[in-house]
């Protein structure tokens, strides 16, 4: 499949302390499609996402967004670019001191010169889109986890972004709400033709939303291709993930002894 990449990640390397989290990650995100970055917990997928939205700076490597490198970009330019992208955080990332309506209206109030009445109508439109009309005056603490995510999504959508990022969109949600979230993501892609990047490890989610899948394992890209391709992939790491097989932990007695005693015997 050939496509028009909107984001290109080139040789990304990053550390947390002494731990190498991303080890030369290179990938491309196709424009106008849903890309899922998959992988088991701790493989560095959330870290990768945080680099792509410019929250973290890598030790080495580049991230090109529509051909422009965001790693070497000035803070000011980065802030301008961020108004054209939306991010849904794992826990929604809502400001707890504000009502849902104020949360959704916040980017509009801060970034645009729209009339207050227009902003309110737009806010209600976005809340309607995620099925939260009628909850305008609720505080984030008064609603459930699934609703928080949907409200976070309404806010991420507020500025009609070109790219929408999701960090674990269905983590911690019950199966029904998860399925609804997936439907919502598909609806957004169909209605607004936006590029969507989702980080997730939920197999059912991947199968229902992904057009393009990138799989990470221990800080490296092990697979990238279409959904059909990954389902047919023979790579053992990919197979283990898809077939939900536990990883074989192989120890010889000497390393085991060293590991539990903490001494190099």
């Amino acid at each position: 499949m050939s496509f028009d990449p909107i984001i290109q990640v080139l040789g990304l390397v990053t550390y947390y302390g002494d731990l190498k989290v991303l080890d030369g990650v290179s990938l491309e995100i196709p424009k106008g499609l849903i890309t899922v970055i998959a992988g088991s917990s701790g493989c560095g997928k959330t870290t990768l996402l945080r680099h792509m939205i410019g929250l973290l700076k890598p030790v080495a490597g580049n991230i090109l967004l529509s051909g422009k490198d965001i790693v070497s970009m000035s803070k000011k330019e980065l802030y301008r670019i961020r108004t054209r992208q939306g991010v849904l955080f794992q826990s929604g990332g809502l400001l707890n001191s504000m009502t849902l309506a104020d949360n959704v209206a916040l980017p509009l109030r801060e970034h645009t010169e729209l009339e207050e009445s227009t902003i309110q109508i737009m806010t209600r439109m976005k809340l309607e889109l995620v099925g939260l009309l009628g909850f305008e005056n609720f505080l984030p603490s008064q609603i459930s986890g699934g609703m928080k995510k949907r409200a976070g999504l309404a806010r991420a959508m507020a500025m009609d972004p070109e790219i929408l990022y999701f960090d674990e969109p269905t983590a911690g949600l019950d199966p029904v709400t998860s399925a609804e979230m997936d439907q919502l993501i598909l609806k957004l892609k169909k209605t607004f033709r936006m590029t969507i990047v989702a980080v997730t490890h939920e197999l059912s989610s991947i199968k229902s939303i992904a057009d393009w899948v990138v799989m990470l394992d221990q800080g490296k890209v092990v697979f990238s291709g279409t959904l059909e391709e990954i389902l047919a992939c023979e790579n053992p790491v990919v197979r283990r993930f898809l077939d939900r097989k536990p990883g074989q932990i192989t120890y010889d007695s000497q390393t085991y002894l060293n590991a539990i005693t903490g001494i190099d015997l």
Binding site: I53, Q90, L95, R109, G152
Partner: protein, 265 residues
């Protein structure tokens, strides 16, 4: 052993330098938003600044007044104990007036605000960091310094000196109560004595100190908030540190200013 020690010293130095660099970036950006923000459209969140003024200033009036009154009374009684022996009881007025306006008013107010507001800044920003709210702000293209720090700084810079004036007034009134009630000094004589003893410089000195203390409390509180790592424990740790570091730095600064004003004032 030696290499371990060197490694330890090196690590500590690096982390201290990193903290200092983060602190100076914070100061830099805050000064930018305090100076440039009000001139720009949507550069300063005025409604939030006013809300902060109520929390920092108005709500602290009772506690500041009560403590200042008590200290005024204590000062007058202690002064009387000494001055009675030399038959100069009327100089209680000078002693109370000058020490309250130049020293105790600003110092007490600052210590109260370090405990009330500095800790609140650290806890608020810290818990927002833990719940990804700060990241969400950045991802929305909103500068957290402009959004969170600038209104707080503006509010505390106006409110601390205002509270110092209240503290001065109430503290002197406390001395007054003792002088007239317990020491049987003449009401009018004590009043005239106080007015004659005080010059405008005394009050201005106190207000200058107040402004400097406000900067210290604000920066320390916000910096500690942004330094939170981990979860609730991190918030607790940094909140405590904001109060301890705040009070320590206030007293250091007070010492410096008192020496400076003594030599040149």
């Amino acid at each position: 052993m030696i290499s371990q020690l060197a490694g330890h010293v090196g690590k500590k130095t690096l982390s201290a330098m990193a903290e200092m660099s983060r602190g100076s970036i914070l100061i830099n950006e805050t000064i930018y938003w305090l100076l440039v923000g009000p001139l720009k459209r949507k550069g300063m969140r005025w409604s939030n600044a006013i809300h902060q003024m109520v929390l920092i200033g108005f709500d602290a009036i009772p506690i500041v007044a009560l403590i200042s009154l008590s200290v005024g009374i204590i000062m007058a009684l202690q002064a009387a104990y000494q001055l009675r022996r030399v038959g100069a009881l009327i100089y209680v007025a000078d002693l109370v007036g000058i020490s309250i306006t130049r020293e105790l008013g600003p110092l007490l107010t600052a210590i109260i605000l370090a405990g009330r507001s500095g800790s609140a800044f650290a806890a608020e920003i810290g818990s927002m960091k833990v719940t990804e709210e700060v990241d969400a702000l950045v991802a929305m293209g909103l500068n957290p310094v402009k959004f969170l720090v600038a209104p707080k700084m503006l509010a505390i810079m106006l409110m601390l000196p205002s509270l110092v004036l209240i503290s001065d007034f109430v503290g002197i009134a406390g001395g007054f109560l003792v002088a007239v009630g317990a020491l049987h000094l003449n009401f009018e004589r004590y009043f005239t004595q106080t007015v004659n003893a005080l010059v405008l410089t005394d009050i201005l000195t106190g207000l200058t100190k107040g402004l400097v203390f406000a900067l210290i409390i604000g920066f320390v509180g916000c910096h500690q908030g942004f330094s939170v790592e981990g979860g609730a424990e991190g918030v607790g740790l940094r909140t405590t540190r904001s109060v301890v570091t705040g009070i320590f730095m206030i007293i250091l600064a007070d010492c410096f200013f008192t020496v400076l004003f003594y030599l040149f004032g």
